[in-house]
């Protein structure tokens, strides 16, 4: 048998099923979410080696490669170090559907912490948001909290 090598319509194969995963949050990560739920506050962790306070708290300081143990309470206020207003549509792999836009993605230096915390800022008007502005975390009502990052509703610009 022989077949002539002629051009044919090119076909594609499509896969669009949800793929479930389950991620451990760890001891200190769990503590961070429990503190939000029970005490409506942030905790970080201090490195004895370099003195740096990390948020969220984790077990190891990367540069020092030392185990961390000293939890510290942090303020719910901080300063915007950078931001962007997300304005294009895209599918959120967490949900499989389109994430609502526009929203403001921000990097916030929490008072008392030495690294930066990424979260949502509750302002999409470019004339009302600037690097250096002070912000405060707004938490969900305790009854609505699920022990994840979205227990923080967003950060509000102060004043």
């Amino acid at each position: 048998m022989s077949t002539d090598n002629v051009q044919v319509e090119r076909l594609e194969s499509v896969f669009s099923c949800p793929m479930p995963y389950e991620w451990s949050i760890g001891l200190y990560g769990s503590r961070f979410f429990q503190e939000i739920k029970q005490n409506r506050r942030f905790v970080g962790i201090r490195c004895k080696g370099c003195g740096k306070v990390y948020v969220p708290p984790r077990r190891v300081c990367g540069p020092c490669f030392e185990e961390l143990t000293e939890l510290v309470t942090l303020s719910d206020t901080g300063v915007i170090t950078a931001f962007s207003v997300v304005n294009y549509p895209f599918i959120d792999p967490n949900t499989g559907s389109q994430r609502p836009i526009p929203y403001t993605y921000g990097y916030i230096k929490l008072d008392g912490a030495d690294n930066i915390f990424s979260n949502i800022i509750n302002e999409t008007d470019l004339s009302k948001i600037k690097v250096g502005m002070k912000v405060r975390a707004v938490f969900k009502d305790a009854a609505e909290m699920e022990g994840n990052i979205q227990d923080i509703k967003y950060f509000d610009i102060l004043g």
Partner: protein, 386 residues
């Protein structure tokens, strides 16, 4: 230092937004075939292969095995290396380590991506931490945009300053027959393009491309017999930082991984005045602002000086240090191949095979990779055997 190593052949596909005519492994084969022909070798001459692309992207995670007949890796030592956006440069550096170690004489480095086969933004979101960052992260554009807002605030650079990078690279792409976007853009075009994530507009950001790239690396003694003018490795440096955005985005410090990798590379190459000693640079600049901020981190000018340095056309063709004669990432972005294209284009410049995009009299060429989460790779290639 290990054994001396050179690039002796390069190959790339033409780049498009969609290649429905080929599978990934067939596309890889196109680049490999061209690279072998460029080196006047056959696959039998190749001792080992390093291959990489973006994890998650095509949902084919063991690409070393998947692509084996396309790469020529049947019954050969082959390894996959995947480090996010830096993948292509890391693949080149891993191949360099293979040869420098003395264990292999001729090694193929391969990078590829078929962005058309996946949802690029969705796939990039899965690179961010699932517990802390993923809910608010929306792909490469906003995390880069945050860097731009911090840079503008600190140094007073404008959106027009950044747009000039896009104009430069998109104009350069007109000289590169393999580039994906073959339409020049002016500063005004970029300023008038739709705002995706402030301050990044459509004209400021790289496209999604399908394509593959391959390089042949050879050992000292072998390389000289293969190529008239081998592109010798003078330096290869890798610096990876945290993947949590809050730990890698202290913009007051700049792109620390790039600062450290370039410092290491300059020390390896004995370079003290990069702008005077490097003749051309192929930089992984995925968005226009990177062409300002990161050339400060890499030491082409001082902090806050990039807008002036670029504005004076020092980085245009014919300038002091031309950047991205190929048109760069803003014109072509098949992500797992993108950083290897930077290395290949640097090799092409050193070997004098650049055609219309050739910079005259290149001795030293620098290539970078960027990705992961603010990670950097730097490679310096030279006509001079180190």
């Amino acid at each position: 230092m290990g054994r001396r190593v050179a690039i002796v052949g390069t190959g790339q596909t033409y780049h498009k937004s969609h290649r429905p005519d080929v599978t990934s492994r067939e596309m890889i084969n196109e680049a490999v075939t061209v690279a072998l022909a460029d080196a006047e070798l056959t696959i039998r001459d190749i001792d080992a292969i390093v291959i990489g692309n973006m994890d998650h992207f095509e949902s084919i995670n063991y690409v070393d095995a998947y692509s084996v007949e396309g790469s020529g890796g049947v019954m050969k030592p082959i390894m996959k290396v995947s480090t996010g956006g830096t993948t292509g440069a890391t693949v080149a550096i891993a191949a360099y380590y293979h040869v420098a170690s003395g264990l292999f004489e001729r090694v193929l480095a391969i990078g590829f991506e078929k962005n058309s086969e996946s949802d690029t933004t969705g796939a990039i979101i899965t690179c961010s931490d699932p517990v802390w960052d993923r809910f608010s992260y929306s792909g490469a554009i906003p995390s880069l945009a945050t860097e731009a807002t911090a840079y503008m605030e600190k140094y007073g650079a404008t959106q027009e300053d950044a747009a000039l990078i896009g104009e430069r690279d998109r104009n350069n792409a007109m000289n590169n027959p393999f580039a994906h976007l073959h339409r020049p853009l002016s500063v005004a075009d970029i300023m008038n393009s739709p705002m995706l994530a402030y301050p990044i507009k459509l004209g400021d950001i790289c496209p999604r491309s399908d394509g593959a790239c391959a390089c042949v690396l050879a050992a000292d003694g072998v390389a000289q017999k293969i190529a008239k003018r081998p592109a010798w490795f003078k330096a290869a440096a890798v610096r990876h930082t945290y993947t949590w955005f809050g730990d890698s985005t202290d913009y007051n410090k700049g792109l620390v991984s790039m600062q450290r990798a370039s410092k290491d590379a300059y020390a390896q190459a004995g370079i003290t005045k990069p702008v005077d000693e490097i003749d051309v640079a192929e930089l992984y600049l995925p968005y226009t602002w990177a062409g300002l901020k990161w050339i400060e981190d890499i030491g082409f000018c001082g902090p806050g000086e990039a807008a002036k340095f670029v504005g004076e056309r020092n980085t245009h063709m014919g300038g002091k240090i031309p950047i991205n004669p190929s048109g760069g990432v803003i014109s072509t972005n098949c992500i797992g191949a993108t950083a290897l294209l930077r290395v290949a284009e640097a090799a092409i410049q050193v070997m004098g095979k650049g055609g219309a995009r050739q910079v005259p009299d290149v001795k030293n060429a620098l290539a970078t990779g960027f990705g992961g989460c603010f990670w950097s790779d730097v490679v310096i290639l030279s006509t001079e055997r180190p």
